[in-house]
Every structure is written in C-alpha cells, then in structure tokens.
C-alpha cells in the first residue's frame, strides 16, 4: 500500500491493467512464435518481445480519434490500440475474420475503426501519411493527434527526414515515436548512425523532443501523455525517443549470429519490461499466475478462433483493388 502513495500520476490499478496488456502481448507473441515453428503461419513474422511497454504506454495515452501507423513489428501496437487478439491471430492465419480480412498479414495489419491506419513493411513508409492525417486534423480543427511508430533504423531513411521537416514546418499535431532498440535488423546502431543521441535528429528540424526509458511503461505513459498534449494543444509535433530492447531476433527464426549472446542474456535478465513492472507493482506469485492464466486463455482462444476461421475464396483476391 505504501507503494501507491509513493508513486504519482498513474494509479496502481492502471498499472495493473498495463501489466495485463503487456503480458497479453508477450503471450500472444510467444504463441505466434510457437505456431510459426509448427508450420501453421504463412509468410514471415517479426515479434515485439521486449518492446511491450512502448506499445502499451503510448497507446494507453491516446484519446478517441487519435490514429497510429505502425511498422513491420506491429502486433504489439495493434493489440495495444484495441484490436482483439482473435482478429489479429485470424489475420496471421490468413482468414476472412482477420483484421485485414486476409489481404494484409502480419506487416499490413489495419483496424481503421480503432484508429489503426496500418502496419507497414517499408521502413519509414508510414510516416508521411501520419503527417497528412495530422494536417487533415488541423484543417478541420479537430483535437486529434496522429502518431507514427518507427525504429532507430528508420531515422536514416528519407521519409523520416522529409516527414519531420514538413510536420515541424506546418506545425501539425503529430507525435513521432522512435522505438530505439539499437538494431536495424542485424546492424547495430553504431554501424547505422554516426550519432548516438537520436533526439538530435529532431533538433535538426527544430522539433521538440522527449526521451524516455522505453522499458518503464509508467514513464512511457506519462511522457507520451505530455507529448500528445503538446501536439493536441497546437504547439507542434513531438519526437518521442523511447530507449527499448529487442529481446528476440529480427524475425522468428533469426539465429542472431550477429549478436553477443551474453549481452542478450543480460538484457533478458535486467531489461524485461514485464519483469520490471512486476517488481515495481510487487505482484505476488498468485496474482501473476491468475493474470497469466487469463491472458493465456485469451491467446489460446484466438488460435482456436483463427483455425476455425474462414479461408477467403481465391477469387476474393480480385476485390478491393479499387474503391
């Protein structure tokens, strides 16, 4: 009980909800890995294990009407933005009941009704559209914010620079969330960026930046709320740098030959956002097991749902090319 009084801002109850959501993402991603290895999931997949706190912390700070665009590593953002695990799993299985109705798959998850304008398989591909969405909000005088997720790797691509420049120039209500997990696939940050502090990239465009420990969901949520308010109040876009860790390979099955395994173990032990929150909350084993059972049931049910789903008619491939 003393812990509640010590903390300000986010209540214990809310943190418990965050924990549950993060645990749901974790168990979902583990299930995805398992099902992929069982040969049930077509294509290729990138799971967000280690980065759950960024997804939950940011998405839980959003208001109704805010929109997001995500990356190739989109499952966490998609769940945190409100898509039901059933619809997400069904999409991975290529079913009509999937959130993209089988047309998109893991890297093209859309849930437009819930403000998810799409995952993107092209690094940096979704940033310009977020600038445009924010521009539309500004045109219409709507108090909505457009949020782009991307990684440290994406800060090197042209769309990143053009988007930040334009967003800052036109003072649109956008938040650019950089999930700095220090890897661009197999390339460490030291090999892809000549600078260490990526907020300097926002500074180059005159854009205000905020920096946060991406493994601390409470901090992410608080800082994200500030960033969103700044944008929503018409004060301009924000670059939100979240220092996080990718506790898995780039894709499922990646042997990570390029990575120091001792370092990875160290991170698993010290930088797991779930373990960090579990400790902060002082969750008892019973509490943890209850929550784990709940989310595991949801995840297992999503696989059942997906497996019992409907395959599209092959000819459905001809639909939706044009409006």
């Amino acid at each position: 009980m003393a812990k509640v009084e010590q903390r300000r801002g986010v209540s214990d109850e809310t943190l418990r909800e965050f924990f549950r959501e993060m645990l749901l993402i974790r168990r979902f991603e583990e299930k995805v890995e398992e099902r992929f290895r069982a040969g049930e999931l077509p294509g290729f997949l990138h799971v967000a294990i280690g980065q759950e706190a960024v997804a939950v912390g940011v998405c839980r700070a959003l208001a109704d009407g805010d929109v997001i665009a995500s990356t190739h590593r989109a499952h966490g953002h998609t769940l945190a933005k409100g898509t039901h695990p059933n619809e997400l799993m069904a999409e991975l299985y290529g079913k009509v009941e999937g959130c993209s109705h089988g047309y998109g798959g893991s890297m093209h998850l859309y849930d437009v009704e819930r403000g998810n304008l799409g995952a993107n398989a092209v690094v940096g591909g979704g940033l310009p559209a977020i600038v445009g969405a924010a521009l539309a909000f500004k045109f219409r005088g709507e108090p909505r914010v457009a949020v782009a997720f991307f990684g440290d790797g994406a800060t090197n691509i042209g769309t990143f620079h053009e988007s930040l420049n334009l967003a800052q120039l036109w003072q649109v209500p956008a938040v650019f969330v950089c999930e700095d997990n220090h890897w661009a696939e197999s390339t460490p940050e030291s090999q892809h960026s000549p600078i260490r502090d990526l907020t300097k990239r926002a500074e180059a465009f005159g854009m205000k930046s905020m920096k946060v420990d991406g493994q601390d969901v409470e901090e992410v949520n608080k800082v994200a709320a500030r960033a969103l308010k700044h944008a929503r109040d018409g004060k301009g876009p924000i670059f939100l740098l979240c220092e996080t860790e990718r506790l898995v390979g780039h894709y499922i099955g990646d042997p990570q030959v390029y990575r120091d395994k001792d370092e990875l173990h160290r991170l698993e032990e010290t930088a797991d956002p779930l373990e960090l929150l579990r400790e902060k909350l002082g969750l008892s084993d019973t509490e943890y097991e209850t929550l784990d059972r709940e989310v595991q049931e949801l995840v297992d049910a999503s696989v059942e749902f997906a497996k019992n789903g409907t395959d599209p008619n092959p000819e459905d491939a001809l639909k939706n090319v044009y409006a």
Binding site: G104, H108, Y110, A129, G132, A136
Partner: protein
C-alpha cells in the same frame, strides 16, 4: 450560350478552382504553386483566391508531398498534389507504389485514398535528360492506381474533375507543350468519365492510338495521309488505366490496321500494352503488324538537333501509317 476559350493550362486551373470553391475538402500543394503560381503557371491567381492554407507551397520533398497527400486523403480530404516534373515522380515512387496504390487492398477494403497527383513533362525545348521523361507507362502496371493523360483543354478539365472526385489514387499527366493550346469549352465543366477513350477523327483505313502531344502530331499526320488517299482514325485513350479496350478494338476491327504513338520511348511504352491488347482481341482483323511510334531508345539529349532526332513527330506517325498500308501494295 457563349463558349469560352480556355487554354489547357487555364482548363486545369479551372477544374482545380471550381472544385475548391465548392468543396472545402479539396486543397492543393506542391513546390512553388503559391505566389509563383506554379513553374508552368497553372495555379496562378489561386493563392489570392483561396489563401495559403489551401494553396500550399511545400519544401522540395516529393516523398512527403505525396505521402502527406495520402494521409490527408485517408482522412477523407481530396488533396491534389503537384510533382513539378514527372521525372521527379521517381523520388516519390515508394509512396505512390507501395503506399497509395496498396492501402485499400492491404486493409481488405477499410481505406480509400482519393488522392490526385498532378504532374507534367514534355520534350522539345532542350530541358535535358532529367526534365523531360514520359513515365506514364510505369504506373499503368501498378494495380490500385489510375492513370490519366489528357491532350486537350476540354478533356483535361473534365478528366481532372473526375480524378479529384475518384476515390482512388490517380496519377494525372499533363503535357508541357500543350499548356498554351486553346479550345472552346463549355461554360460548365463537363466531367469526363475515367476510362473512356475519345475518337478525334473518324477514318476507315488505319487506327492511330495516340496520347499527349502525339495526339496532335497524329492528327497532322492524318491530314497528310488523307492527301495520299489513306483515311486515318485517331483515337486518344485519355485514361491509360483503366483502358477503354472496347473502343480501341472496335476501331481496329473497322480499319484493320493499327499504329500506336506516344512521346515516351517505344520500348515498354504504353503503346506496347495497346499493341498486345489489339493483337489479342483483333488478331483476325489485322492486315498488318501493329506499328509503334515513340522516342528512340536513349536518354533525352540536350543539343537541339539530337533532341529533334530522338523524339517522335508527325512525320514518324505518317511513316508508320504508310507502313501499315504498304502491305496491300496500296501506295
């Protein structure tokens, strides 16, 4: 009823302006389109009428220009973005091809991208290899995009209107050398359906399918051919994707001979697609192979004499027409 005379340039401006007057969701952005009125003068006067929020100068950022257009379109606005030279579409290719064209499909129908991308190109003034390419064919092969290329003031006005109000991303090509071309047009804008070809000139002996500047070169060649006793029908598809195959094939079934003509390089040009459609659907009607007229296979040279040599003219269309009729032994 008076029929105002509008230049191609004014016709584009008219479509944009009328759409913007009646519809707050329409706005334009691009490089130098505000005070300067556009590098080709198309948007002159529009800043004064609509203000800087709706007539937006942009930085030199083709990816963000197109991409922010995509984002605004996804929110239900109808942006018309300008890419100053179609050569620079290459810079925004990723956003056009990977994003705009595919959002609707990849989302399983959840999104629409009612974006219009206006651009222009055209050789004949020694702009050099990076300022006069004709790249329309590249976009025809991208499912999800519509591609329009009008060749007259009335057509460009009616088609731009339709492009703006089409719920799909439209790449809208204008031709630089046609901006000054004048024509009497109706007082009110007559929207032209996307996907509808136009027969400019009726004929019996040869069908010439031409786009852009080559429509006018083909009409000149047709006049000349007439003197030689060859009756030429000139068809402008106007929309390249979706293509009015029915109109083109119907014409060839009537004339039995076909020439395709465009300013773009012949190899893999739009004419190749038309030729494939024609030979497939009118094979037994053809009395000669389909002739293709286009630029020679080089980047565009600078020196005027070399540029003149590389790009196609009326005489090249005439030569192609003559080739299709020579097979009969007819002169």
């Amino acid at each position: 009823m008076s029929m105002p005379e509008l230049s191609y340039r004014e016709a584009v401006r008219d479509a944009l302006s009328q759409a913007m007057r009646q519809d707050e969701d329409v706005f334009i952005m691009g490089e130098d389109i505000a005070e300067m009125g556009g590098s080709m003068g198309v948007t002159q006067g529009m800043l004064d009428e609509f203000g800087p929020e709706r007539v937006r100068n942009t930085p030199i950022s083709e990816m963000a220009i197109v991409g922010s257009g995509i984002g605004a379109a996804m929110q239900g606005m109808r942006p018309v973005v300008e890419v100053m030279y179609e050569d620079f579409l290459t810079i925004s290719m990723e956003q056009i091809v990977n994003q705009a064209a595919k959002h609707r499909y990849m989302s399983g129908g959840q999104l629409k991208v009612p974006l219009t991308i206006r651009t222009q190109g055209g050789a004949g003034w020694s702009p050099g290899a990076q300022h006069a390419q004709q790249v329309e064919a590249w976009f025809v092969g991208v499912p999800g995009l519509k591609v329009v290329f009008a060749s007259t003031p009335g057509d460009v006005r009616g088609l731009l209107w339709s492009a703006i109000y089409d719920d799909n991303p439209v790449v809208f090509f204008e031709h630089r050398t046609l901006y000054g071309l004048k024509e009497e047009v109706a007082e009110e804008i007559e929207p032209i359906p996307i996907g509808q070809a136009r027969v400019h000139r009726q004929g019996e002996d040869v069908t010439v399918v031409a786009t852009g500047r080559l429509v006018h070169e083909s009409l000149a060649a047709a006049e000349e051919a007439e003197q030689q006793g060859v009756s030429v029908e000139v068809v402008d598809p106007r929309t390249l994707q979706p293509l009015d195959e029915e109109a083109i094939v119907a014409s060839v079934k009537k004339t039995n001979r076909c020439v395709v003509a465009h300013e773009a390089v012949t190899r893999m040009g739009f004419g190749a697609e038309v030729a494939a459609v024609v030979q497939h659907q009118a094979f037994d009607w053809l009395d000669a192979p389909v002739e293709r007229v286009g630029a020679k296979f080089t980047p565009l040279p600078f020196a005027p004499v070399m540029e003149e040599y590389v790009i196609p003219h009326a005489k090249d269309v005439l030569a192609a027409i003559q080739k299709t009729v020579q097979r009969d032994g007819a002169s």
